[in-house]
Homo-oligomer: 398 residues x 2
């Protein structure tokens, strides 16, 4: 047996689909010694996490807390708590994570019904309306607000009204939008919304913030049979997070510390300023990429500010370029998933990674690598810079 | 909206049922910047985690990795992957966590069959043998090696032979024993074993190490229907941890760093020395408590070294004593769960918390508080000290 060496991860600029880099303040907060799960100090911190999560989700829901798992556990918790066997769930299928919802619905005995749309396009409200009209008895409409696989932003306007007409609940995946794009849980009448800590919140992966409306909680309370998962049963989470304080499981205390500090940073910057910063850096990146002669997968109104999908030019091996970005510049970007494998790069600008510095460095690095691989491309910096030279509207420029 | 204050948890000596304190080295390792889930450095670290987990479980299993959730997620993953609807599972019910297994088996459509035993006593092999004989077709026998609610150590000898006679699989909960008591997965022919990071491993909560024998993996491969949970599907974990490297979910990278460092500490100390250290401090604590006139719940051969259940003396309010230990000494111990609520204290000596310093301080603190509450008790220190004065057999004394 060879003795193990201490692990010192390399320094990366995480500009992929997530995780994003974690704020130094968050890393320090996380490294505090742990306390017990009923420690008065922890219960107080949990109260703050609840308040700050609600502010970020833009809701006043009572049932808001982080599930003790990564983003997918949030998706699973949201779906399996709402769905009873045999119930129909309408799912927007325009990317990888819509497909994941489909799989989870099937596994828990629900009946998934798909609205199919091209990967790279959002689901239109008319499609939801048509599907609800055609297939009666749909209990839940599930859409992905920010499709991490395609870079598409799903508009949430008008959905509540449509869904209400058919007595369904609205479930929204905000994994890659929370704390970067307005999610507006109360404004859009979202019944269940979940996210993850490792995207625009800049905390480490391992927690999935979720929020349930009263109507959604009501549905979980009236279940005929228990939720299939004990670990992800929202009623048991509520007993620990609520005033009962019943032991459910030992929560990942260190990740609670991290999430609290990350949420404090969001509060300090202010949501509006944070949204504007994400928008601006996204626009600068796109301007640069387009000036270089590259094309975006998604049409302008539906582009995520956090995740930019760039088409790989004809004849270019996307993995080579990605590998060189990592090797030569320490920049980690993502490749395509599913039907987009080999066809796009996914460039993330999430939370603290959404900065002019990262945009300018990335454009420079990509240009240099493409040229050295013999791929013709123009300079992108000037176009990006032009965006930044416009009157500034808030947020940090570094 | 009031701005949130930075969270600085108080310093605690965690001598309850877990979490235990986390090693400084582990906290520092955890606070390194995160990397992506396919980063070559992370994949290398995962290889080390696999090797060191196998050494700690004492197995050569291929399917060994941490599930991305706390201990209960490990329990759930172990059970739901093995069980198909309608299958019978024999569960040792002699504590809180046997009951939890029962609930999980029920929720996933299995048929739980209980071996009932008094809380505070182990399940006897004859009971397992009888139950398997009486109720044919049992597919899985599930026992808790270290019952955190009662302090009972479940002997694992002879079980494999009995279970084999009936063609069943053996599933063992080692949450509170791994890295403190010998678990011996291969020696005892355990098919599925799971643990948690926040007990004797002294890493933060949030990961559940699991290991599956080839026979267990075979059963999961031959399932007629998919595992009900996508998040906890072991086949999908294997695809990420194995050579395929398929994306399943974004793992809690920081907790991987922490676990690796915690396992390195275990390797440096050596398993045998670590076991002996836990045994010695446990014996000293018991000697002290008994000298004080207190009684243990569990008979000597079945006492856990990691978790000591002390009977609360007649007429004493256990919560008062516990509250004063926390307030006046920063010592966090546990109360009773379920049928033992109000009747016992649970005193943990796990990993780095299993030291003579902690034993001596705890005995002193408890004596002072009991006396000031008017509870008669003798001094315990001398008796504990006598254990330590015997020829030393390895491990650290501080």
């Amino acid at each position: 047996m060879t003795a193990s060496k201490a692990f010192h991860p390399p320094t990366r600029i995480l500009m992929g689909p997530g995780p994003s880099n974690v704020e130094e303040r968050v890393l320090r907060a996380m490294s505090a010694q742990v306390v017990g799960y009923f420690d008065p100090s922890l219960l107080e911190a949990m109260g703050e996490i609840h308040r700050l999560l609600n502010a970020t989700f833009e809701t006043e829901n009572r049932a808001t807390f982080p599930v003790s798992g990564t983003g997918t556990s949030g998706m699973e918790a949201a779906l399996i708590n709402l769905i009873e066997p045999g119930e129909k769930v309408l799912i927007g299928y325009n990317g990888f994570f819509g497909d994941r919802m489909h799989q989870i619905v099937e596994r828990c005995g629900g009946v998934p019904i798909r609205i199919e749309e091209e990967w790279g396009k959002p689901i239109r409200p008319e499609q939801v309306q048509e599907a609800l009209k055609k297939d009666t008895g749909i209990k839940i409409v599930a859409l992905v607000h920010a499709e991490t696989s395609t870079g598409v932003l799903q508009p949430l306007e008008d959905l509540r009204e449509i869904v209400d007409r058919y007595g369904a609940l609205l479930l929204v995946d905000a994994v890659t939008s929370l704390a970067a794009h307005p999610v507006g849980v109360d404004q859009h009448g979202i019944d269940v919304c979940y996210a993850a800590t490792q995207k625009a919140l800049n905390a480490p992966p391992g927690l999935a913030p979720v929020t349930f409306s009263e109507r959604a909680i009501e549905k979980t309370r009236n279940r005929r049979r228990k939720v299939q998962s004990y670990y992800l049963d929202i009623a048991l989470f509520e007993q620990y997070w609520g005033t009962n304080r019943f032991y459910h499981h030992t929560p990942p205390v260190s990740l609670y510390y991290a999430l609290l500090e990350a949420l404090r940073i969001v509060e300090e910057e202010g949501l509006e300023a944070r949204f504007e910063r994400h928008r601006l850096n996204h626009l600068a990146l796109i301007a640069g990429l387009e000036a270089m002669g590259l094309e975006m997968l998604v049409e302008p109104p539906y582009r995520l500010w956090t995740l930019n999908t760039v088409k790989v030019p004809e004849g270019v091996d996307e993995a080579t370029i990605r590998g060189r970005l990592l090797q030569e510049f320490g920049i980690d970007i993502g490749g395509g998933l599913g039907t987009l494998k080999g066809r796009v790069w996914r460039v993330g600008l999430m939370g603290m990674n959404s900065t002019p510095n990262n945009v300018l460095l990335f454009l420079t690095a990509l240009e240099r690598i493409l040229l050295s691989e013999g791929v013709p491309c123009g300079p992108g910096i000037a176009a990006a810079d032009e965006i930044y030279r416009k009157p500034f509207q808030g947020g940090s420029r570094v």
